[in-house]
Symmetry: C2
Subunit: 282 residues, 2 copies
């Protein structure tokens, strides 16, 4: 199976419309129809049930959609990482580390410093992204390593090394009655119906239903809390970066947050290995 065939099939399977898929791929519709037909014939499998009015995925088709996306990600990753490895020899960004914007405050500079001191260290680019985007970036090669936070981020499919565990604090507007307390329980926070937890976007970019405002990143979240529209329970390391109009109170029974460094299991390159080594020695 060629990646061109896979790309074509994934486009059709996602659009469920040959015309739109062809447009997205920048080709005409007839070659696309033919390519899909050939793919089906070669596999000996019906991937799409199509009438002249509607296109639906068969069971086999939906398997190929999932697996094909993963395979295309892997191919893309191979290409990106190869390009990057070549740059590392001559010029700059040899390694890309991704982390959620606004998280892992003091850990990150320490890690970068420790790695830079390693012999043979290459240049590290830091890529900040929104919630839940790290996994995709790591899978398709736009990043080589990630700092993730259990239990929020899924580490499925990656090798990980634990770096740090910490409790969580409730972040509230300064002056809120609860800020006088020495510590809280989760029940105290969820009871604040006037300060609901904001809703995070899912991987597809849509927001779940429910009360609470929508927030895409740390900055938006802080803003919402300062405005008295939301509250949040965050890892205690966020205190170092809290705006003066916010206050933090420890939450005793909140789940412990573990910061881990994660990388694709097969890409044990020297550079990644060095960075992981530096991280575990912190």
């Amino acid at each position: 199976m060629e990646t061109r065939e896979l790309r074509y099939f994934v486009a059709v399977a996602e659009e469920l419309h040959f015309g739109r898929a062809a447009q997205r791929l920048g080709i005409a519709q007839p070659p696309l129809s033919r390519a899909i037909g050939q793919l089906e014939r070669r596999l000996g499998v019906t991937l799409l049930d199509r009438t002249s009015r509607t296109v639906t995925l068969t069971e086999a088709g939906s398997v190929l959609l999932r697996e094909g996306q993963a395979a295309l990600d892997a191919v893309e990753a191979a290409e990106r990482r190869t390009r990057r490895a070549a740059l590392a020899a001559t010029g700059r960004p040899g390694l890309v580390l991704v982390t959620k914007a606004g998280a892992s405050g003091e850990l990150l500079p320490k890690l970068l410093e420790a790695y830079a001191a390693e012999p043979g260290a290459v240049a590290v680019d830091v890529l900040l992204c929104g919630i839940g985007e790290q996994e995709r970036l790591l899978r398709d090669g736009r990043a080589d390593v990630a700092l993730l936070h259990r239990p929020f981020d899924s580490t499925a499919g990656f090798d990980t090394e634990e770096l740090r565990a910490e409790g969580q604090v409730a972040v509230l507007p300064a002056g809120h009655p609860l800020t006088g307390r020495a510590h809280l329980r989760m029940a105290d926070v969820t009871a604040l119906s006037d300060l609901p937890t904001p809703r995070w976007p899912r991987t597809d970019g849509t927001y779940p239903d429910g009360p609470g405002p929508e927030a895409r990143d740390h900055a938006q979240l802080c803003q919402l809390i300062a405005l008295g529209r939301a509250s949040a329970v965050l890892p205690e390391s966020c205190r170092a970066y809290l705006r003066p109009d916010l206050a933090a109170v420890p939450v005793l029974d909140a789940p412990t947050v573990t910061t881990v460094i994660a990388w694709p299991p097969h890409s044990r390159s020297h550079a990644v290995a060095g960075l992981v080594r530096a991280a575990t020695r912190l």
Copy 2:
């Protein structure tokens, strides 16, 4: 990047010889040279340093070798799993479960029975393989789920669910002096220099150096122990399947063995999900 290009590059990178690689690929040498050249030009990266006498990988080349192998595995897996999903609708093997031959004795039949009772269960093929082969089979799609045993098998890159933890026993020839003891320590077993631990093949099929005979699977191992040529420390569930000419003694300080069910994180198909559900309910 097309899979054809990747296959070509991987062949050359593994052989480090254009002629042999071309032979392996079933094409002539000139088109291969040209394809690699085109790939390098398109990526803007030198992958191979070649004189007219010798070919070596550059740093970028070795990255592409690793990543490319993973990507090719993913593409192959997509193809295999799609074919299998199509069969599941009509005929037989809709799911392939792989486990080490001779391991997970009573667990496996229970699991298969429990899954078969699920509504919508598909036919499950059981694939038995040698030591350390499971990961490859799971990655390239020849299997959909695996039973693995921590800490022996690496679960890197897979989703897992723990099924069972058990201690280990020393397996000795019947009548050996130590078989009279109620329990042993690791030191007792390693001290048996006349009964060394056998050597297992590595992933590439070669055996590490050292004392002890070579063994590829459970049957060979048992045979060697019965012959008085080796001893082994195995999960205690193996007792149920032990030949009468072998004896087992618990080893108190041996690491606990955890049986896990593992699957590729992206392939959350109905069938896999059902099997995992059945497994966790055992």
